[in-house]
C-alpha cells in the first residue's frame, strides 16, 4: 500500500513540476517560434503554433540591419569583466567575513544585501550625473564597474557561504606551516573553494548578461550590449514582432546554451551552497 501511495505522489509531483516548468518556459518558446514566422503570421489571430512556413528571413534581416557581433562582444566584455572585477574584490571581503568575523559582520552582510532591495531607478539620476562628469557614459569600463557593483553583494554573500563551509583548522594549519595571508588565500582557500567560486561566477555572469536597466540607460551605441540590441527592435509601433523575436532569440541563445551545460553548477549556486 505504502508503495502505491509514494508512486502516485511521485507522478503528481512530476506532472506538477513539468507543468510549472513549461509554463515558465512558454514565453521563451513562443519567442523562438515567432522568430521563424513572417510578420503577418506572428500577429495572426488565432495564433499559429507549429504549422506555418518556417523561415530564416527575420534572422537575415536582423543580421543585415545591425551589427550583432559588436553587441555580443560588448556583452561578453561587460558581463565577463564585471564578474572578474567582482571576484577580485569579493574574495578578500568574504574571507575576512567568514574567518575573522567582527562584531558587525552580520550587519554589514545584511546591509549589503539591502542595497539589492532598492529600486535601481532610485539612484539613476546621481549615477547618471557621475557618469557624465567622469566621462563614463556609453563606455565599457563604466558599465563593467556598475554591473560589478550591483552584483557585488550577491557575489560576496555566495562566497561567504562557501567559505564558511571550509574548516578553519585547514587555514590555521597553513598559517602554522608558514603561509602568509596572501599565500593562505592563493594556495589553500581559493583552490578549495573552486566549485563555489565557479558557481558564483556563472550565476553572476548570467545576471550581468541579462541586466537591462543600467545597460540601456547608460549606453548609446559604442558600449551597447545585447540588451540594447533587443531594445532597438522594440519599436513604439510594435509591428515587428517577428524581428524582435529573432533579435531576442539571438541575444539569449549564448546564455541559454551556457546555462544548459552548467546546470549542476548553477543549482549549487542558486541554493547558496546548501546542496553538495
Amino acid at each position: 500500500m505504502a508503495r502505491t501511495v509514494t508512486t502516485n505522489r511521485k507522478i503528481i509531483n512530476t506532472a506538477a513540476a513539468w507543468t510549472i516548468g513549461l509554463l515558465i518556459f512558454f514565453p521563451i518558446l513562443w519567442t523562438i517560434l515567432t522568430s521563424f514566422k513572417s510578420e503577418a503570421t506572428a500577429i495572426a489571430d488565432p495564433p499559429v503554433f507549429l504549422f506555418f512556413d518556417w523561415s530564416l528571413e527575420n534572422y537575415r534581416v536582423v543580421l543585415e540591419r545591425s551589427d550583432y557581433g559588436r553587441f555580443l562582444l560588448n556583452s561578453v566584455i561587460i558581463a565577463g569583466g564585471s564578474i572578474i572585477l567582482g571576484i577580485i574584490v569579493a574574495v578578500p571581503a568574504a574571507w575576512s567575513m567568514a574567518f575573522v568575523p567582527g562584531k558587525y559582520t552580520k550587519d554589514i552582510l545584511l546591509w549589503m544585501l539591502s542595497t539589492k532591495m532598492l529600486p535601481a531607478v532610485g539612484v539613476l539620476y546621481p549615477i547618471y550625473l557621475i557618469f557624465i562628469k567622469m566621462g563614463l557614459l556609453d563606455s565599457r569600463i563604466g558599465l563593467t564597474v556598475i554591473l560589478m557593483l550591483i552584483n557585488l553583494p550577491i557575489i560576496v554573500w555566495m562566497l561567504y557561504t562557501y567559505f564558511r563551509e571550509i574548516p578553519g583548522e585547514i587555514l590555521e594549519a597553513a598559517r602554522m606551516d608558514g603561509a602568509t595571508l596572501r599565500e593562505e588565500i592563493v594556495y589553500v582557500l581559493t583552490p578549495m573553494a573552486v566549485p563555489g567560486i565557479a558557481s558564483t561566477l556563472l550565476l553572476n555572469f548570467i545576471l550581468a548578461w541579462n541586466e537591462a536597466f543600467w545597460t540601456l540607460n547608460l549606453t548609446a551605441a559604442k558600449a551597447a550590449p545585447l540588451t540594447a540590441f533587443i531594445a532597438s527592435y522594440s519599436s513604439p509601433e510594435g509591428l515587428f514582432y517577428a524581428k524582435l523575436s529573432a533579435a531576442s532569440t539571438m541575444a539569449i541563445a549564448p546564455i541559454l546554451i551556457l546555462g544548459w551545460f552548467s546546470q549542476k553548477q548553477l543549482v549549487r549556486g542558486l541554493t547558496f551552497g546548501a546542496v553538495k
Partner: protein, 334 residues
C-alpha cells in the same frame, strides 16, 4: 632548542575569563601533556602557544625570546590538529612539502626531507594520493609528516588521536612516543584522555577551568595528587573517595583509595559489601561493590581471576600506606 615559558598568561573571550593568570615552563626536549575535562582551556592554551589565539595579557617566550606578538608562522612550531587539517586538493607529497615550499627551501632538500619523513611514517607508497583516498590513521601520519619535515623547535598536538579507533590509537600513541625518543624535540600534547597522558608524558599539566591543578610526572600525580580533582582524574578506574566517619577516623574530611590498593577476601576484612557488577578481564577483575556504607559504590581492582559473583558478600581491606587524605578544601593532607 624548544623551551617554552608562559608568564602570567590570561585569556578572555568577551567577558568570560577562560584562562586566569597562569605560569608554566616547558623545558627543552620535554614531552608535556595538557590534560583535563572538555572545556578546561587546554586547547585554548595550546593555541595561544601556537599563536593562533591572542593573549589577553601576559607573555610567551620561546627559547628565552619574547614571542608574544610573533605570528604563528614565525614561531618555529609545528602543529598537528584533531581533524588532521590536511589540504584536500593536494597530494600527500604536496601536503608534506607545503611548509617547505612556504619556507622557499630548495627543491633537492625538499625531496630529501619528504622521502625521509615518508619512509619513517610508512607513507612512501601513498605519496601521490589525495588525503580523501587515505584511512584515518594514514591521514594522521600525513599530518605528522607535515609537522616533522620542518624540523620545528617544538611540536604541538591538539587531541591528535581522538578521531581514531581504539586499536589505531594505541599504535599511534607508541609511534608518537618513539618519535619523541628519536627526535628529542619538545612536544606539547593536549588530550582529555588520562591514559594517554599517563603513558606518554614526561610532565603532565592537569587543568580545570583554566586553572593548573597540578604539574608533575605521571607517577607524582598518581602517588601524590595535590587535590581531590587530580585524585579523581588521574588513574583508571577512578580513585574511591570516601567521606564521613571513616575519613574522620583518619583526621581528614575525605579519604581516597585507589581500586588497586584494596585487598579482597571472603571473610575478615575492614569493610564489607555486596558485589554488584564483576568485570573479568583475565589479567584483572574489577568489582563494583554496593552497600558498604562508605560511598555509593566502591570499585576494586583485583589482580588475576577472582571468583566473586553478583550478590556475593565481599570483605575489603585498604592498604594503610596507600590512603590519601584530603581536607575540607579538597587539598591533600600530608
Amino acid at each position: 632548542m624548544g623551551k617554552i615559558q608562559l608568564k602570567q598568561v590570561t585569556k578572555k573571550f568577551g567577558d568570560v575569563q577562560v584562562i586566569p593568570p597562569l605560569d608554566l615552563t616547558i623545558e627543552d626536549g620535554e614531552f608535556a601533556v595538557f590534560v583535563g575535562p572538555s572545556g578546561c582551556g587546554k586547547s585554548t592554551l595550546l593555541r595561544m602557544i601556537a599563536g593562533l589565539e591572542d593573549l589577553t595579557t601576559g607573555t610567551i617566550a620561546i627559547d628565552d625570546a619574547d614571542a608574544t606578538d610573533t605570528p604563528p608562522a614565525k614561531r618555529g612550531l609545528a602543529m598537528v590538529f584533531q581533524s588532521y587539517a590536511l589540504y584536500p586538493h593536494m597530494s600527500v607529497r604536496k601536503n608534506i612539502a607545503f611548509p617547505l615550499r612556504m619556507a622557499k627551501m630548495d627543491k633537492a632538500e625538499q625531496d630529501r626531507r619528504i622521502a625521509a619523513a615518508a619512509s619513517a611514517l610508512n607513507l612512501t607508497d601513498y605519496l601521490d594520493r589525495r588525503p580523501g583516498q587515505l584511512s584515518g590513521g594514514q591521514r594522521q601520519r600525513v599530518a605528522i609528516g607535515r609537522a616533522i619535515v620542518r624540523e620545528p623547535s617544538a611540536f604541538l598536538f591538539d587531541e591528535p588521536l581522538s578521531n581514531l579507533d581504539a586499536a589505531l590509537r594505541v599504535g599511534m600513541r607508541l609511534e608518537i612516543c618513539e618519535m619523541h625518543e628519536r627526535l628529542k624535540t619538545t612536544m606539547i600534547y593536549v588530550t582529555h584522555d588520562q591514559v594517554e597522558a599517563m603513558t606518554m608524558a614526561d610532565k603532565i599539566v592537569v587543568l580545570q577551568a583554566g586553572v593548573i591543578e597540578q604539574v608533575g610526572s605521571p607517577l607524582e600525580l598518581y602517588h601524590a595528587p595535590r587535590n581531590l580533582f587530580v585524585a579523581g582524574f588521574i588513574g583508571s578506574p577512578k580513585m574511591n573517595l570516601i567521606s564521613g566517619p571513616e575519613a574522620a577516623k583518619r583526621d581528614a574530611v575525605t579519604i581516597g583509595i585507589r581500586p588497586e590498593h584494596i585487598d579482597v577476601s571472603d571473610s575478615g576484612g575492614m569493610w564489607q559489601g555486596k558485589v554488584g557488577v564483576a568485570e573479568h578481564l583475565g589479567s584483572d577483575t574489577f568489582f563494583h561493590i554496593h552497600d558498604t556504607g562508605l560511598a555509593e559504590m566502591i570499585t576494586v581492582r583485583a589482580p588475576g581471576e577472582v571468583s566473586f559473583r553478583h550478590g556475593d558478600t565481599i570483605h575489603l581491606t585498604p592498604r594503610a600506606d596507600q590512603i590519601h587524605r584530603f581536607d575540607a578544601e579538597g587539598l591533600r593532607l600530608s
